[in-house]
């Protein structure tokens, strides 16, 4: 079986290159191998570089398309929208920021949730969207996640959450922090009810999201070379005042540390999830 990456994390070349957005244009340079690749070909390849296998970041809606059987996704809780409970203002007000992000991304917040089928198996699915305020978790993300977990509990569905996030959303301060406890408490109930939760970690999953539901999967799957951690590399570097080893906090590193069950390339994600759902069915 070739679906599980077997490379050691020390062999993985990562560094801290930014790969947050795919540049516009017909052709682009892959940050993984520096080759010029044809965008359409890359996108048709599930946004994975055909040359080196570098996994580009993808939106929540693309993720849903990639995972769910065509035409079977029913979106839920799309009408939950953010308030600005603290009237938060840094260099820019949170209200303006939200509006700008909504226009830019076409989404109301950083999550898409619903139910659908993966290779014929019905699941509850939530996907985070990095393009909306770095996929940060505020009240909306916390609420939608919790409702999805409760929906899965009620309907006895396997739960799949695909994470990618910079962490808790600062602009909602303590309320964002509380979403960590809220979603984790919902997962405790789901677990008590015997539900199976597959957590998929993608690049990047950090901060309060990692320190709550993302690391609570019955099975935790990571995409190759995804940055996954509690503290960001910059903060760690500043704290310990030394350089971080190559590949630190990447999926393969977590695999070696025993923190994730599998590193699964995007091409094989549907297979792996469907397979686990089958095993969970007894």
């Amino acid at each position: 079986m070739s679906q599980t990456a077997t490379r050691s994390w020390t062999q993985v070349q990562t560094g801290t290159k930014t790969k947050s957005s795919i540049p516009e244009g017909l052709w682009l340079r892959c940050p993984g191998c520096s080759q010029m690749i044809y965008r359409k070909q890359m996108e048709a390849n599930l946004s994975v570089c055909p040359e080196c296998g570098h996994h580009f970041r993808i939106s929540a809606s693309t993720r849903v398309e990639q995972l769910i059987d065509t035409g079977t996704f029913e979106r839920l809780f799309a009408n939950v929208e953010s308030n600005d409970p603290l009237k938060f203002k840094d260099l820019k007000s949170y209200r303006d920021r939200l509006l700008a992000e909504q226009i830019k991304s076409g989404q109301t917040d950083a999550i898409i949730a619903g139910v659908g089928f993966i290779k014929g198996r019905q699941v509850a699915l939530a996907c985070m969207d990095l393009s909306f305020m770095m996929g940060s978790m505020g009240s909306v993300v916390g609420e939608v996640l919790t409702r999805t977990i409760e929906h899965a509990t009620e309907h006895n569905l396997p739960l799949v959450i695909v994470s990618c996030s910079g962490g808790a959303r600062m602009q909602e301060s303590g309320l964002s922090l509380m979403q960590m406890a809220k979603s984790s408490a919902a997962l405790a109930r789901f677990d008590d009810a015997g539900g199976v939760y597959i957590s998929v970690l993608t690049d990047p999953t950090t901060g309060g999201v990692t320190a709550s539901y993302a690391m609570l999967g019955d099975v935790i799957i990571a995409e190759p070379e995804a940055l996954i951690g509690f503290a960001g590399p910059r903060v760690i570097r500043q704290t310990i005042r030394q350089d971080l080893p190559e590949g630190f906090q990447r999926s393969e590193f977590l695999l070696e540390c025993g923190m994730v069950d599998q590193v699964v390339p995007r091409h094989d994600m549907r297979n792996q999830i469907a397979r686990l759902v089958d095993y969970a069915g007894g």
């Binding site: 953010s82 260099l91 619903g114 909306v140 301060s173 984790s184 690391m215 503290a231």
Partner: protein
């Protein structure tokens, strides 16, 4: 007060305190000639002393009523502020510390052990920053490693088995951001605590006694009742961390702005429903009167344990779920659309 550490905004107060001390020496100066003149001078001094004391009380009240958020953060970090160990020594009788997570090691940044508060047997769990330089380094200034969170959970499960309530003291700038902490699963350790604390079948009481920094604080604060001491802070990130990211730099000015924006004081947090109570400190902060602060905290804990112990396990777990379930601020637009977002892949 000797080497008492002075906060910037407290300087006028310290000046007054110095003058009071001088006046006191004047009044009680030994060996002063007992003459008519001397008596007069002494009487004048004691009137002056009274006046100074009055001024001092007034200034203390002025400074500490409506303390601004950034100064609150500074008070919460005052080196003389009582820490978990101080409270344990003051009001946890018969305390016996329990060490280790049985997996990796014993993190001194989180203390756990059984003892009695009033008539209540309980498990005490608390962050510890350290009182001496050596201790502070060993405790990473109150920043716990995964083994600290795992130790806390292990002992909380034991308390559940014993049917003993749990009292946690939160005082951390955040969980430790380091290489080894990441390697050993800092995020996983905190996450598991959040999930497991939500379903522990004994009463849990949490009090933020100093700093309530993000996930590292929440990792021992999923409780039936959460309180903050008057001069503590609780937020998703420290003002400095927030300033560095959103204001692009952390300095006096931006830290102050970030502290304002984050709504991190006890008053803010109770308004948001994040905490259930504010435990008062003696005027001028717990660092000025640790014994007074301890008494107030002890009395509050006892009153809460009296109430919580009357509840059944089901009531507790249900109530705790609802408590956190209802936190958040959002609105719902139009009836829920049930569109198909799936397109041809």
């Amino acid at each position: 007060m000797g080497t008492f550490y002075t906060l910037e905004f407290e300087k006028p107060l310290v000046e007054l305190e110095n003058r009071i001390r001088e006046a006191e020496q004047g009044v009680s100066a030994p060996g002063a000639p007992i003459g008519v003149e001397g008596v007069e001078e002494s009487a004048a001094s004691s009137a002056e002393l009274e006046d100074l004391n009055r001024q001092h009380a007034k200034l203390l009240e002025e400074l500490y009523t409506d303390l601004n958020p950034w100064d609150t953060v500074r008070v919460s970090r005052h080196p003389n502020r009582p820490q978990t160990w101080d409270y344990i020594e003051h009001f946890v009788r018969d305390f016996g510390e329990l060490h280790g997570d049985r997996r990796y090691g014993d993190d001194p940044a989180i203390i756990t052990g059984f003892g009695r508060i009033g008539n209540h047997k309980c498990l005490v769990v608390g962050h510890h920053k350290g009182r001496t330089t050596q201790e502070r380094i060993a405790c990473h200034f109150g920043c716990a490693h995964p083994e600290g969170y795992r130790k806390a959970l292990l002992k909380m499960k034991l308390a559940e088995k014993f049917g003993t309530p749990i009292v946690t003291f939160v005082d951390t700038p955040g969980a430790y951001p380091g290489l080894e902490a990441e390697r050993r699963g800092q995020a996983e350790a905190i996450a598991v605590n959040l999930r497991e604390m939500a379903r522990i079948k004994v009463p849990i009481l949490s009090i933020v006694i100093g700093e309530g920094g993000s996930g590292g604080a929440l990792g021992i604060a999923v409780a039936d009742r959460v309180a903050m001491l008057r001069n503590s802070w609780y937020s998703v990130i420290s003002p400095e961390g927030c300033a560095a990211i959103l204001w692009k730099q952390a300095n006096e000015q931006t830290n102050r702005s970030a502290a304002d924006a984050l709504n991190l004081t006890a008053r803010d947090n109770i308004k948001l429903g994040i905490i259930d109570a504010v435990v008062e400190e003696p005027l001028g902060g717990a660092h000025r009167d640790p014994d007074g602060a301890s008494d107030l905290l002890r009395d509050w804990i006892i009153s809460q344990l009296d109430e919580l112990k009357a509840k059944s396990a089901e009531e507790l777990v249900e109530g705790r779920y609802e408590r956190f379930r209802n936190l958040g601020s959002f609105h719902e637009t139009t009836p829920e659309p049930s569109e198909s977002a799936s397109t041809d892949a």
